[in-house]
């Protein structure tokens, strides 16, 4: 079946570096993508989203890039801080019979060293 996946299970960076977390998706009909951050013992926290009619969207210190040609999504975090350490999930919106259905990838763990 179609699914969302991540290339790297763990990413280790130094504080102040820029981080890039990648995600591949396989459903060409997906029209909405979202990144969540999940800290230990907490629920997923919304970071940023992007619709399929956009290539790039920026937030505070975060940027999401969407490449529909190769079905690739990335999350860029500028000036990574220790507080950014968490598991990051991408999810794609698979509309089924008109209703939203988010399908999550496995996740990438980001470790930020001071």
């Amino acid at each position: 079946g179609e699914s969302v996946g991540l290339h790297l299970p763990t990413l280790s960076v130094q504080e102040g570096d820029n981080s890039i977390i990648n995600c591949a998706y396989s459903n060409s009909a997906s029209d909405y993508f979202i990144w969540y951050k999940q800290e230990s013992g907490k629920g997923p926290q919304f970071i940023i989203d992007i619709r399929s009619n956009m290539d790039k969207r920026q937030g505070q210190r975060v940027t999401v890039l969407l490449n529909k040609t190769v079905k690739h999504l990335s999350l860029q975090i500028a000036a990574t801080q220790p507080g950014d350490s968490a598991v990051y999930f991408c999810a794609e919106n698979m509309r089924d019979t008109g209703f939203q259905k988010l399908v999550f990838g496995t996740g990438t763990r980001l470790l930020v060293s001071p």
């Binding site: 919304f46 939203q100 259905k101 399908v103 999550f104 990838g105 996740g107």
Partner: protein, 113 residues
């Protein structure tokens, strides 16, 4: 604005016992979701409600799992009887009707012994 509330936060039971989880969505959010998150994996949708109606329960193991949202606000998810493989975090999320962004609660960590 208050977020999605869930209780209990932790639950430990023995296999074959029953357990129930409660969720109160963000005020005004008519759409409510229950997810199961097994350790090391992403959340997997179990059931989706819009108001008090079920939109999608295709991945809910209906022989042991049930969920209800009788008044269209808070919801309960029940497992009866529990199996060892039900050990997971059960997440509740909510969203506005017609909006794609889902907001998650803190989850309930279930351990089945």
């Amino acid at each position: 604005e208050a977020g999605v509330a869930q209780s209990p936060r932790y639950k430990i039971i023995e296999k074959r016992q029953s357990v129930a989880f409660w969720c109160n969505p963000i005020s005004g959010h008519a759409t409510l979701y229950w997810y199961q998150q097994i350790l090391g994996q992403g959340p997997k949708l179990l059931i989706q409600f819009q108001n008090n109606g079920v939109v999608d329960d295709s991945q809910l193991p209906k022989d042991r799992f049930s969920a209800e949202r009788l008044k269209g606000v808070d919801s309960t998810l029940k497992i009866q009887p529990a199996k060892l493989e039900d050990s997971a975090v059960y997440l509740c999320a909510s969203s506005l009707v017609g909006r794609d962004t889902q907001y998650f609660g803190p989850g309930t960590r279930l351990t089945v012994l």
